[in-house]
């Protein structure tokens, strides 16, 4: 729950501009981007996601580094991805 997971923004939902569809390690889910609205989020941007909310915008290099790190820690990350897979906020 405390892990920040990098995700790539695929699209901003037209009827809900506070939500975006993101790709996290091949899992596509809707997340809330209201907390980073001031950063002007657009498709192709990377964000760090905590419990379904983007908390910061990051660059692609940081996203890759964060992902390598998360994959290295094993079970805690697997559990987080499994939880994300079950998340359907819409």
């Amino acid at each position: 729950m405390c892990l920040g997971i990098p995700g790539e923004v695929i699209e901003i939902l037209t009827d809900r501009p506070d939500l975006a569809r993101v790709d996290v390690s091949g899992v596509t889910r809707a997340i809330n981007i209201g907390l980073v609205a001031d950063d002007g989020i657009a498709p192709g941007d990377w964000v760090l996601i905590h419990v379904g909310f983007a908390l910061s915008k990051i660059d692609e290099a940081e996203a890759k580094a964060a992902m390598d790190f998360l994959e290295s820690i094993g079970k805690a990350y697997d559990d987080e991805i499994a939880a994300l897979r079950e998340s359907h906020i819409l």
């Binding site: 405390c2 760090l48 910061s56 790190f69 939880a83 998340s87 906020i89």
Partner: protein, 375 residues
């Protein structure tokens, strides 16, 4: 020397380690606290203590929200979940945290419904889909997760969802750090500051650590090199006689934090006069409750909550571990009666808990890896 788990930048790590060793004054010991449980996890996963000179000890702090929640709050949550019609939701990490009569799974075996969710927004959706149930979200976490709960309250209000409330257990990191600094049990030389919490609160809230307590603090990222780099920055400050707030994780942490996140927290929640932390006792202004304007979303007002203080099991020394006074392996039940499968204390439950990190990565003393591998 063998390293517990070689990582891709092991050569860079060795180079940093030798720079750190070069800054050690002969005969002096250094104690740094890593506040965040995520850092503890990295340190043990990658065996970072093995890279460091013996003179440097890393002390694990209270930054694991699951670990510091007192047993009485688990009992309170279960008591709310027992109300007819209530469907409680919780992060998965919370499910196995023991209360005085078992954990959430045990409680579900006795007719409560406590369902795991990834996000508070999942919880809100469950409320939308189940208008005949009262959905209560077990909200927990430091400033990293607090904005998510705040945003969910605002959404519930905007949509007029009235069968949703939160049992608020959000806590704030600064008063806990201050409590540790004021504790006579421990002398620290500096802090490895939390990464993700700082993306929300920024770096200024740590100013008092440098200014009033004269200790350096470096906000750090989560990769092994980030942590070694931060230790190097702390050592450099000490050698040069400085005590400052520095930001090693500036690629993610803005100096001012996330103003939107801070605003929504402030809009929906207010400080409690005090809150009990496992191991640290009652700390003033260290936790949040739902603001009066949003009282209809406050489960503590909606339901009778017993609010009984429960002492930790006698054998459990999580309190000392959380304050950094004891290393996990020094606890009497570590690895014997208390394991991740059958945890007695909270530090063994969460993967970010110091005891679970030690146990999972086979670390039963600081020196064992050296002894086992040095010919």
């Amino acid at each position: 020397m063998r390293f517990v788990d070689e990582f891709r930048d092991a050569d860079k790590a060795r180079a940093l380690a030798s720079k750190i060793a070069g800054l050690c004054e002969p005969g002096r010991d250094y104690k740094f606290m890593e506040v965040c449980g995520g850092h503890t996890h990295t340190i043990y996963k990658h065996g970072l203590e093995d890279y460091l000179p013996e003179a440097i000890t890393l002390v694990h702090g209270p930054g694991c929200p699951v670990c510091v929640i007192p047993m009485g709050r688990i009992d309170d949550a279960i008591s709310i979940a027992r109300h007819p019609g209530v469907l409680m939701t919780s992060f998965g990490d919370m499910m196995r945290v023991p209360g005085s009569n078992g954990n959430f799974f045990d409680s579900n075996a006795e007719n409560t419904t406590i369902r795991m969710v990834y996000s508070p927004l999942d919880s809100l959706k469950i409320a939308r889909q189940n208008p005949d149930r009262d959905v209560v979200f077990m909200a927990i976490g430091f400033e990293t997760t607090t904005p998510s709960t705040a945003m969910t309250i605002l959404r519930a209000a905007a949509e007029g969802i009235d069968n949703f409330s939160i049992f608020c257990n959000h806590i704030t990191i600064i008063p806990a750090i201050k409590a540790i600094l004021d504790s006579p049990d421990l002398r620290l030389d500096g802090f490895i500051g939390p990464g993700h919490v700082s993306t929300v609160i920024g770096c200024h809230p740590y100013d008092f650590i440098a200014a009033h307590y004269g200790k350096p603090i470096v906000v750090a990222g989560f990769e092994p090199l980030d942590i070694l780099q931060s230790i190097y920055m702390l050592m450099l400050q000490l050698q040069e006689g400085r005590s400052e707030v520095e930001n090693q994780y500036s690629r993610v942490v803005p100096w001012e934090g996330n103003p939107t996140a801070l605003r929504v927290i402030n809009d929906t929640m207010q400080l409690r006069p005090y809150f009990e932390w496992r191991g640290l006792g009652f700390i003033s202004h260290s936790a949040l409750r739902v603001r009066d304007e949003y009282a209809r979303f406050d489960a503590e007002l909606k339901y009778q909550v017993p609010g009984v203080r429960v002492a930790d099991p006698k054998a459990c020394q999580c309190g000392e571990v959380l304050k950094g006074v004891l290393k996990p392996w020094e606890c009497k039940v570590f690895g014997t009666a208390c394991t991740p499968e059958t945890p007695i204390g909270t530090c063994m439950v969460s993967p970010e808990g110091a005891c679970a990190a030690y146990y999972n990565f086979g670390r039963f003393t600081r020196t064992k890896v050296h002894e086992a591998s040095t010919p």
